[in-house]
């Protein structure tokens, strides 16, 4: 529980932070500090167990059916990393309080930052690989949001997009890699995977798994050739750069490699892939860093290079190299975070980060200058600072692994050392020389507490550098033992090892770096160079942009080639597929068995003749005579309903009849807005032969499709009926569902989850239709008043719809339709109430009710109805969905699965025993959704007429009965 709260706490804080007002800078920081301190306290509470070498685990059921649990586990490595995340987080939050300006929307910043902290802790503490990938992607997401924090800036948006594309793609690769690992081992549990190292390495899928995992780790840790996103991520606020892009998130990649070291390392492939990427990154990053003109850009490339160094160490893969890697991860986090903060202070105080402008800052910022110089010295690897120690271990390892054959490894290491000295000098050059003139702002020392985090981190660099044995050794030991287990080597973190080759290399690097910097400055005009010598062609960002462009182009090409906006080719392809694929699968059409015609009924056949005739005639008429086609389609619908009646399915017949009615009204409402046929552009009387060919082809296809479906139906009918699920439903409807109407019990009980989905879709469709119609603008030729209403000889053209119904030509229907409304309501209630046992139910009742209201609309117009009836279809929809869901959730209360029905028998006075299943309430939800959907769509269409007729300043009161505005529904 303690462990879970460690991960939950930052997310909780994130939600709280998001809810605070815009200007609550202080409260936000206190909240964030509180979260970080709380996290540290929890971590500290876990220390005794971790120090004793235990692995603390907490498991929660996640997807038990898939064998996936939500596992949190802390061992030494995870503990050290979470301390790093929390401690640096604490300092960054404090720093950010002073860095963010009052105009910045801080709730967003702190909410994202805390969410990142939680995600990063999730990565570190995950005991399940799939879960690790989830948190991994969450860190990518929060990083994206934080880089794009100042989203009004184009570079921030671009940087955020680039970082997200690269790291999230890597995350997908990692996911695939994890799945492969899970396949090999048979479990996603980290402990199991770590214990199965030999099995993984011997498996034939080892290489794919390694490559995929490496892709994930290398993209995250900005390794060559994916390093280019990190410099662009510098558009983020400096606290973010300091926290995410130097101390923690970019370390996730190397953390993962260290974490999986027992499972994956120890093969030549591992060394070549990881080590190779590391060596390239280390050299390129360090070299390019020298030529940056932006303070943060320099630090970004230096980060890339240091990450490369760590990657090389992991790639070398000896136990001692892993020790050095973990040690350098910690060291780099301390000095680089403090350097970023110092760069942020310089930016904050002077208003610029340009190395070509900044000079002589030590006069104005003496304390910051001292701190930054010490931290850069640690970065350069000057003795008595922490960077020196881990760098020397690195030199020793390159010598060890290089031996005689791979001598270039040591040379690369020394070269990287020289470069890093050179760029460190470049960085601290801003403090020396004559004070710069014309800076955007006059610099002075920052507030006490803004500098405090830097002071603390620099102090840590010094303490670790001078007395590593007492300061960092215990922590490092914890992490090393957790990673290496029994292989943990003996190592000595002393400052002085005597005169040996690594020391010589260090001295070479220091002296060489100083010389290199001097030469570059004197003779190569370092401050003026616009591009990096030699490597400027190696532009990862350009490659990225090109890739993106090519992808977009490719997608467009594919869309042009494959996609079509015309319906007919799509239908043709679908029809062809429908015909050909079963044929290809079956090999040949099934043999045609003739079944004897039994009980041929001429009356029934005659009815079908009517239906088929209507359907064909409707298709014939559809092109130019829409109304006739609609009437004919209505004929087909009626015959369908009659067929259902004939075959004794009154349920279906009822629904079919109602749907038929509503559909007719709907199409008529839509017909109003279709542009009329323009007779003058009728085509030639004799269509060209291409048209005939096309039509013949389409006809053949259509006939083929129809025959195929008929054959399918025939095949199903001929097939002897076996035990079907229908039998189960028939048997259990009354006993299990408490209703004798199987169809209704099926809908609201057995398959109620499907029904819930369906009504949700219904609601979504209704809202979409409504949203689309709100912005609907009819074609100009159909926007005006219909010709029937412009005819002056008709008295109705001078009456409002309400007057027509009250005293005009609709007088008679007006009277009886209004009288009928309550009857229709009663019928709706009747069908609803008995739905569980006899034909009826929420769906039919809803349709009946909706039709009853619609009739009133048709009779007296929108304004009249809406000034009297306060119908709010949105609320019907919402209420219905809520009711259905709540009923389903109610089952949980009693410990049953979602949507379990409970039947109660209640003895009511007067009424007698009432049979009251909870499915009844669910059905009420269905009823409300159906009413809401039908009303919303039809009335939204009907309102188009109102809008089209409305003229500016026109009084909308219908019949003078008070100010009944055409209410927006």
């Amino acid at each position: 529980m303690l462990l879970a709260s460690l991960v939950l706490l930052p997310f909780l804080g994130s939600v709280l932070a998001a809810l605070m007002p815009q200007d609550a800078r202080n409260r936000e920081s206190w909240l964030a500090i509180g979260v970080a301190v709380g996290g540290l306290a929890i971590a500290a509470a876990l220390f005794p167990q971790v120090a004793a070498g235990e692995v603390v685990r907490a498991e929660f059921a996640w997807l038990p059916a898939e064998g996936l649990d939500f596992v949190l586990r802390v061992d030494g490595l995870a503990w050290v990393f979470s301390m790093l995340v929390l401690a640096i987080g604490l300092l960054v939050v404090l720093y950010a309080r002073y860095y963010m300006s009052p105009e910045d929307p801080v709730p967003r910043f702190f909410a994202f930052l805390l969410a990142f902290m939680g995600s990063m802790l999730g990565v570190v503490l995950s005991g399940n690989l799939v879960q690790l990938v989830v948190f991994w992607e969450l860190t990518s997401l929060t990083s994206f949001l934080l880089i794009g924090y100042w989203h009004h800036r184009a570079d921030a948006r671009r940087g955020a997009r680039m970082a997200f594309t690269v790291t999230a793609t890597g995350g997908l690769c990692l996911m695939a890699g994890v799945l492969v690992l899970g396949h090999i081992v048979g479990s996603y549990d980290l402990d199991v995977v770590l214990a199965a190292g030999d099995q993984i390495r011997d498996h034939e899928l080892y290489l794919p798994a390694l490559v995929l995992v490496a892709l994930g780790a290398l993209t995250k840790s900005a390794q060559f050739p994916f390093h280019f996103w990190l410099p662009h991520a510098m558009a983020a606020p400096t606290p973010v750069s300091s926290y995410l892009h130097s101390a923690t998130m970019v370390k996730a990649g190397v953390f993962l490699l260290v974490r999986l070291w027992p499972a994956l390392a120890g093969t030549p492939e591992w060394t070549w892939i990881i080590g190779g990427a590391g060596v390239c990154t280390l050299l390129i990053g360090a070299f390019v860093a020298i030529f940056q003109h932006d303070l943060k850009g320099l630090l970004a490339y230096s980060t890339i290079s240091h990450l490369g160094l760590i990657t090389v160490l992991i790639g070398i893969g000896t136990p001692l190299a892993i020790v050095a890697a973990i040690f350098h991860i910690l060291n780099h986090a301390t000095f680089k975070a403090s350097l970023f903060m110092a760069a942020g202070i310089i930016d904050h105080e002077t208003g610029t980060r340009d190395l070509r402008v900044l000079r002589g800052l030590r006069h104005k910022l003496p304390i910051t200058a001292t701190l930054a110089i010490v931290a850069s010295a640690a970065m350069a690897g000057v003795p008595l600072l922490n960077g020196f120690l881990s760098k020397e271990m690195f030199f020793a390892e390159t010598l060890h692994v290089g031996g005689d054959r791979n001598w270039w490894m040591s040379y690369a290491a020394v070269a990287m050392g020289m470069f890093s000295v050179a760029y460190s000098l470049r960085f601290i050059s801003v403090f020396f020389g004559t004070p710069a003139q014309g800076l955007p702002r006059d610099p002075h020392e920052p507030p006490r507490w803004m500098r405090f985090p830097v002071e603390l981190l620099v102090l840590a660099c010094l303490v670790v550098g001078v007395a590593p044995g007492v300061s960092i050794e215990p922590l490092l030991h914890l992490a090393v033992v957790a990673t290496l287990g029994e292989d943990a080597p003996a190592y000595d973190l002393a400052v002085w090892h005597g005169f040996n080759l690594p020391l010589l290399m260090s001295v070479c690097a220091l002296v060489g770096g100083m010389l290199l910097y001097g030469v570059l400055r004197r003779h190569f005009d370092l401050a003026r160079r616009e591009r990096v010598p030699l490597l400027h062609r190696l532009n990862g960002a350009q490659a990225y942009e090109t890739t993106m462009l090519q992808l977009t182009r490719g997608a467009e090409w594919l869309l042009r080639r494959v996609g079509t906006r015309r319906l007919q080719p799509q239908l043709m392809l679908m029809m062809l597929a429908l015909l050909l694929i079963p044929l290809l699968l079956a090999g040949a059409p099934p043999a045609w068995t003739v079944i004897p015609v039994r009980g041929f009924d001429p009356i029934f056949a005659g009815m079908w003749l009517i239906g088929a005739g209507c359907a064909l005639a409707a298709a014939w008429m559809a092109k130019y005579h829409r109304l006739a086609a609609l009437a004919l389609v209505g004929g087909t619908g009626i015959v369908t309903a009659a067929t259902f009646l004939w075959l004794s399915a009154p349920d279906l017949a009822l629904t079919q009849l109602m749907v038929e009615t509503v559909t007719t009204v709907l199409i008529l409402l839509g017909l109003r807005w279709l542009p009329p046929r323009i007779e003058s552009i009728a085509g030639p009387v004799q269509p060209p032969w291409q048209v005939w060919t096309r039509r013949t082809r389409d006809l053949a296809l259509a006939v083929g499709g129809g025959l195929a479906l008929a054959a399918l139906t025939h095949a199903v009918l001929v097939h002897p009926a076996s035990d079907t699920i229908a039998d189960f439903f028939l048997l259990n409807a009354l006993g299990g569902g408490g209703g004798s109407n199987v169809v209704n019990v099926l809908l609201v009980d057995f398959r109620s989850f499907d029904t819930l989905g369906e009504i949700t879709v219904l609601a979504v469709v209704a809202l979409t239709v409504y949203a689309l119609l709100r912005r609907f603008r009819p074609a100009p030729e159909s926007a005006g008043i219909p010709p029937q209403q412009r005819f002056e000889g008709d008295p109705a053209s001078r009456q409002s719809p309400a007057e027509q119904a009250g005293s005009g030509y609709l007088l008679v229907p007006g009277i009886y339709l209004r009288l009928l409304l309550p009857f229709m309501g009663v019928i709706a209630v009747y069908f609803f109430m008995r739905g569980h046992n006899l034909p009826g139910g929420g769906f039919v009742a809803g349709l009946i009710f909706a039709v009853a209201i619609l009739v009133q609309y048709m009779l007296a117009g929108t304004v009249w109805v809406e000034s009297r009836l306060n119908l709010r279809p949105h609320r019907w929809l919402g209420f219905g969905l809520l009711l259905a869901c709540t009923t389903g959730l109610g089952a949980w209360w009693f410990g049953h699965p979602f949507l379990t029905t409970h039947t109660a028998h209640v003895e009511w006075p007067l009424v007698g025993e009432l049979h009251l299943p909870s499915a009844f309430v669910f059905d009420l939800g269905v009823f409300a959704v159906v009413v809401g959907t039908t009303m919303l769509m039809l009335v939204a269409l009907a309102h188009q007429s109102l809008r089209a007729h409305r003229h500016p300043g026109e009084d909308l009161t219908a019949d003078g009965q008070g100010g009944a505005e055409g209410r927006r529904i």
Binding site: G634, Q789, L838, G861
Partner: protein, 94 residues
């Protein structure tokens, strides 16, 4: 001839008449010639189905068919009203 067979024969005959009426309605629905003819034909078609439901109810001895007929009687005219309104006023809901 018993009552049952008489009833059966009578309903069968009635059914045949109803379907014949439906066929004639369909003919009118198809040829028109005016839109009003088609609307009237459709309305009569609804009426026929109502009668069909009643006849089937008598044949099967079930009350449920009667309810279907009730629904058709109560709401079957809605399509007709919509179509008529469309013809007269150019739009269904003003």
């Amino acid at each position: 001839m018993t009552t049952a067979t008489l009833l059966s024969a009578a309903t069968l005959f009635a059914l045949a008449c109803v379907v014949l009426a439906m066929l004639l309605c369909t003919l009118r629905l198809m040829i028109g010639p005016s839109a009003q003819d088609r609307v009237l034909a459709l309305d009569t078609l609804w009426m026929c189905v109502m009668v069909l439901a009643l006849l089937l109810g008598i044949r099967h001895g079930s009350q449920i068919y009667f309810e279907a007929a009730l629904i058709i009687a109560l709401l079957g005219f809605v399509s007709t009203i919509a179509l008529a309104k469309f013809l007269m006023r150019g739009e269904v809901i003003e």
